[in-house]
C-alpha cells in the first residue's frame, strides 16, 4: 500500500470519526485536489487490500472496519455518536478504536431478545455472561466478509 493510498485511507477514517460517515469519492477528490477517478481507483485498491470494504459494484464505503455503514443488529453508542457494527466483534471494536467507553445494544441471534454490553476503560462491565460465535474459520474471513 503506497503513501497516497494510506493518506486516502486515513482521510476516510478521520472523516468517519468527524462526520459519522465515510466521504464519497467526490469529497476525497475535493480534499486532495485530484480527479474523482483517481479517488475511485484508490478506494478500489484499499478494498482489494482489505483496508476498506466497498458495497459490491460501487465505490461507496460499506465498512471501514470496525465501523459499518449499512444497517445491522449491532448498535454502538460511543464517543458521542451512535454507530453500527458489522458484527459482534466489530461492535466491541468501535469503543476500542475510538479509545472511549461504549454501549453495545444488539440481539441474541437465536431468539432476538435484546442484549447489551458496556465497556468502561476498556473492560467489559455489562454483558460478560454473553457468548459470541463465529462460524467462519480465520483463513476464510475475507472470502465473504459480510457473512463473516
Amino acid at each position: 500500500m503506497d503513501a497516497f493510498d494510506l493518506d486516502v485511507r486515513r482521510h476516510v477514517y478521520f472523516s468517519v470519526v468527524a462526520n459519522g460517515r465515510p466521504p464519497t469519492t467526490a469529497e476525497v477528490a475535493a480534499a486532495f485536489a485530484i480527479d474523482e477517478g483517481v479517488a475511485e481507483s484508490a478506494y478500489r485498491r484499499l478494498h482489494d487490500a482489505h483496508a476498506l470494504v466497498l458495497f459490491p459494484g460501487t465505490t461507496d464505503v460499506w465498512m471501514a472496519n470496525p465501523f459499518c455503514f449499512a444497517p445491522t443488529v449491532h448498535r454502538v453508542i460511543a464517543g458521542g455518536r451512535t454507530w453500527t457494527g458489522t458484527c459482534a466483534w466489530d461492535a466491541l471494536g468501535i469503543p476500542a478504536a475510538l479509545g472511549c467507553d461504549g454501549r453495545i445494544e444488539s440481539a441474541c441471534a437465536c431468539c432476538g431478545e435484546p442484549v447489551a454490553l458496556e465497556v468502561r476503560a476498556g473492560e467489559l462491565t455489562q454483558g460478560s455472561d454473553l457468548l459470541a460465535h463465529i462460524l467462519v474459520p480465520a483463513r476464510d474471513w475475507w472470502a465473504d466478509i459480510g457473512f463473516t
Binding site: M1, L6, R9, R10, Y13, F14, V17, A49, H50, A51, N65, P66, C87, A88, W89, D90, L92, G93, I94, A96, A97, L98, G99, S106, A107, C108, A109, C110, C111, E113, V115, L117, V119, G122, E123, L124, G127, S128, D129, L130, L131, A132, H133, I134, L135, V136, P137, A138, R139, T148
Partner: protein
Amino acid sequence: MVYLRSEEHLGRWLDANGWEPGATLGAIKLNDLSREWWGTRLDARWRPRAAAESQAIIDRLGLAGEFWSYG
C-alpha cells in the same frame, strides 16, 4: 460473528440454520480480542497488518487450533 444468550441458544441457532459449529468466545474474551484487533485502527501511522501479526494477536489471546489459523 453474533451474540448469543447461552449455550442452549447457540445450539438452537445452529440447529435451526443447519450450520456446523465454528468457535465460541465469552464476551470478555471477545472484548479482549476487539481491543487488540481494532485498538490501533485510528492511529495516524496505521499500516496494514501482516498475516503473521494478526496471527500473533490471536495466539496471544489463547485462541488455538486450526479454526484460528489465519493462514
